[in-house]
Amino acid sequence: MRTTRDFDILILITSALLIIIGLCLIYSVFHPPSSGYSQDVSYMFFNRQLMWVCFAIVALLIGYATPVRYFEALAYVIYAVCVVALTLILFTKGTQTTERWIALGPMRVQPSEFMKIALLFTWGRVLSGHFSPGDRLRKTLIVFGVSLVPFLLVLKQPDLGTAIVFFVMLLPVLYWRGFKGRQIFLILSPIVASLLIIHSEEITKNSWPFGVFIVIIFVVAYLRRSHLLESISLVAANVGVGLILPVFWGTLKTYQQKRILNFLDPDSDKLGAGWQVFQSKIAIGSGGISGKGYLEGTQKALEFLPAKHTDFVFSVLGEEMGFVGAILVLMVFAVLISRALAMAVKVKSQFSSTVCVGIAAYFFFQVFINVAMTTGMAPVTGIPIPFLSYGGSSLVVSCFFIGFLLNCSVRWYEY
């Protein structure tokens, strides 16, 4: 029995609001005060995005109308299709240095975005049901296994940002499914360790941070010595990383090393990324509290603001709508994320619950990383901001998730 009473209208309102704001921004980007764009260009992106909104609504309806158990049943199939698509990309790469799209007729879709749906479903299916203590390790390994394949495929594109989003999305999901904070720490610590090693060996030439980190590891291991296996694996994992990493680093090509270093130390690439961020900061900073007014932004008109309709669209928002507008949009996102988390508490099905947390994590990390990047707090990684950035795949995936949340809201009682 469907109860319209339970339909979460707030989710629909917030997402609709964000889609409209996104369209307005894309219109604005190509309509600067003194227009330098030809008629074709100024409407081309807006019209295309409008078309994508239509597809996105279809995706939303699919997410809403399909019984959740179908998704659970098809999880592995969806996963396999996405992995095949990601693999295909690597083979059709040709001469281009990076290729993230695959052509479907006249449209170009980005399989790495759809991979996020596939991963959430797969995680949800693997992690639902009761765990016996022995199960936990097995399921953890499976979850990491299925995440590692797309992680490596996307890393090869290369799209480090998306690969990292795959990974960080998993952490809240694991936490939700009963992993303790310290276990998350156990998973996270070798990664932090390897980043610290590279950072101190190659950039700062200062091994203090890594030393401090290792001391912390040993202290934690000592405090939790009653759980001997856990302590030992914590130390072993970190020491292992310390031993293997330099060897692995040596096998990388110079340009690969450079890419990783640029990610860790964006200052080293002032010609490219640093320049973008500085221009973005000028746009946002010059917006002030109340902004310059819709369509009145000056920075967007110039060649200075790169990727202004995709990854850096938030800086156009910051410039034209100011602090007030930016905060309001962040608050709308916060409402959406909190509704997704509330839905995770409410639904009875463990699969749906897990996926809802994953959806919350998806929106949270995409928004946080993107805004942190445009304001110069995080390295430039090419993560779009959901609903606002130009680009069909991201919009379709976001709307599908909204459809799924709405689906859960009306059928929360289903197991």
Partner: protein, 609 residues
């Protein structure tokens, strides 16, 4: 589908609260950051936005220097001036070029093609309209600020080859980067119009010599005038690494002046112990300075089409018949295969040798008389070797030649080395058919005529092998690159060049230079006992090539050398005296002039080989 139990539901609420808290905390961080940018730093950023004429400029990093083994700078950089145009739109650039062309005669077609490739990659980076502008253009741009307010004069670096044409083939030259190279190295920060090493050391060490470009951001006013620089965005360029060569620039220059007057030729001088090259000469030469800022088409054509082929690297890429210098290998073959008894005079040289129905001539038409192995080498008696060759297997000589490093690359750290040719049974079978060639070919081979082809570098290394006690060293010209690990150079012990064979060869090569009837007498220098072997290789294209290979001092060898002068006649008369004058410079640089003048008289009296 799992069912949730009540306990789980409680835990779910705890986790929900934690996650919500994290979201709020992280979003608050963003809010604080936005507040900082949009309220606290608002004025600063507004100012940037209003001026909004920030421009990125590339600071081209200077190329590394190239030095010789004593630290003498062979290649450095001097300033050059470019006229650059900061640009926003394409029409802007075209209009300016057109307008500028009214005043200065420009090669507009070339500028447009450069701009086409420039605009694809360098959005917002000023375009150099005139590269390496002369004084006239510079003063024009500076004086006509009102007509061309946007044009600026930028200082860049030009490559300077301090010794002019000296060692040109080794050092190579730089030129404007090609489209193909750009496509291949898209990720390494090359831009159209950049200079890149095209040959020689400049090309081999490109990745070291080229530094990392810097960048600065400058604020400009509405008319494009630079107002100031943004320190925050300054990225200083990283200087290219210096390359130190094993070459001695002074000796290199000296050896070049000895060979240049004789036309075309090549010479290599090597440290016998480690294979480092002290001088590598290829004449005629060219001046790499003329390439440094883009060579004019007619100059390029002239260099390319000249009959003497000045761009051709003769010490590395040219092969010649070794002539009698190969007799060192021949003696080695005879001794190791025990084909002759060294003391026995197996022939009475009459100036000609009959084999089958063919007559093989000795170079000395009136004959050497009775000859044993020692005399055969010292006096270079062909008849002796013809006689010995009658019982020699063609493959024995071939494998001995390979043992001396002939017929294969030496492993020098320069590209495009030539292998040369060592003919063996398989080669002849392929060329003439099995059984369709005779032992007569071996008679030609043993005196270094026939099909043998060697490079000057290979022969120098062969001489060094005798000098250093039988080690085939790996020749190299790069001593080290600043901040890079030292290169590793291998050296291979030759199997049979030791003991009696080695000492016999050395004694005979000393005899060539020091005996009264030795053919290499002209390389003799009082005070320094040398050793060597002359050669006169016939070639179908003209006069004989003159060869001399050798080493000095004979007792405790330091250097080995190989000298070849094209179409110059007898090795003993032409090439050996060059060795002598090089020794003078090498062993007594201070009083060279006196020794030189007093010995010059006797040099050219040498009997031909």
């Amino acid at each position: 589908m799992g069912k949730r139990d009540p306990r789980d539901e409680h835990l779910g609420r705890v986790r929900y609260r934690w996650l919500i808290t994290l979201v709020i905390v992280f979003f608050s961080l963003l809010a604080i950051r936005l507040f900082g940018l949009q309220y606290i730093q608002h004025d600063d950023y507004s100012q940037y936005a209003e001026e909004n004429k920030l421009q990125r400029e590339r600071i081209v990093s200077p190329r590394g220097l190239i030095k010789d083994r004593n630290g003498v700078v062979m290649v450095d950089n001097v300033p050059r001036f470019d006229v650059v145009l900061p640009w926003r739109s394409e029409t802007d650039v075209r209009r300016t070029i057109k307008k500028l062309n009214v005043y200065l005669a420009l090669d507009t077609a070339h500028i447009y093609t450069r701009f086409e490739s420039w605009k694809k990659k360098n959005q917002g980076i000023p375009f150099p309209i005139v590269q390496n502008a002369d004084k006239l253009v510079i003063s024009f741009v500076k004086e006509n600020y009102d007509i061309f307010p946007k044009l600026r004069v930028e200082t860049n670096a030009r490559r300077r080859y301090r010794q002019g044409a000296s060692a040109a083939h080794l050092l190579g030259y730089v030129g404007e980067v090609s489209d193909r190279f750009l496509a291949r190295s898209a990720n390494y920060g090359y831009f159209p119009g950049d200079l890149v090493g095209k040959s020689g050391i400049e090309s081999v060490c490109e990745r070291f010599l080229r530094g990392e470009d810097g960048q600065r951001a400058v604020a400009v006013n509405a008319s494009g005038r630079v107002l100031g620089e943004l320190k925050e965005l300054l990225k200083p360029p990283v200087h290219g690494k210096d390359v130190t060569l094993t070459i001695d620039a002074r000796l290199q220059g000296h050896l070049e002046t000895l060979i240049s007057p004789l036309g075309a030729g090549a010479a290599v001088v090597m440290d016998v112990d480690d294979g480092s090259l002290i001088a590598v000469v290829s004449v005629p030469q060219f001046d790499p300075n003329s390439f440094a800022v883009g060579i004019a088409q007619d100059e390029w054509d002239r260099l390319n089409q000249a009959k003497e082929k000045p761009l051709f690297n003769r010490f590395l890429q040219a092969t010649y018949p070794p002539g009698s210098t190969l007799k060192i290998v021949s003696v080695f073959t005879l001794l190791t295969n025990r084909l002759v008894s060294p003391q026995e005079a197996i022939v009475y040289c009459t100036g000609a040798h009959r084999f089958g129905n063919r007559i093989f001539k000795c170079w000395k038409a009136w004959g050497h008389g009775y000859m044993n192995l020692y005399g055969g080498l010292v006096q270079s008696c062909d008849s002796y070797f013809y006689t010995a060759a009658e019982i020699m297997d063609v493959d024995d000589l071939a494998s001995a030649s390979r043992e001396f490093g002939l017929g294969s690359r030496t492993g020098l750290d320069l590209p495009n080395e030539i292998e040369g040719l060592v003919p063996d049974r398989e080669y002849y079978n392929r060329r003439y058919g099995k059984g369709k060639w005779t032992q007569g070919l071996v008679l030609n081979n043993i005196i270094g005529q026939g099909e043998f082809l060697v490079s000057v570098l290979q022969m120098c290394r062969a001489a060094a092998a005798v000098a250093n006690g039988g080690y085939l060293v790996q020749p190299h010209v790069i001593e080290h690159v600043a901040g890079e690990p030292e290169g590793v150079h291998t050296s291979k012990k030759m199997k049979a060049l030791e003991g009696y064979t080695l000492s016999y060869l050395r004694r005979a090569m000393e005899g060539v230079v020091n005996d009264e009837d030795g053919t290499g007498r002209a390389s003799r220098l009082p005070g320094v006992k040398g050793a060597g072997k002359t050669g006169t290789s016939q070639n179908p294209h003209g006069e004989d090539h003159a060869w001399f290979i050798g080493y000095a001092p004979a007792r405790d060898p330091e250097i080995a050398l190989a000298i070849l002068v094209e179409n110059a006649g007898h090795g003993g008369a032409v090439a050996a005296p060059i060795a002598r004058e090089f020794y003078i410079e090498y062993f007594s640089p201070d009083d060279s002039s006196s020794v030189l003048s007093q010995s010059r008289g006797s040099v050219h009296q040498a009997r031909p080989e």
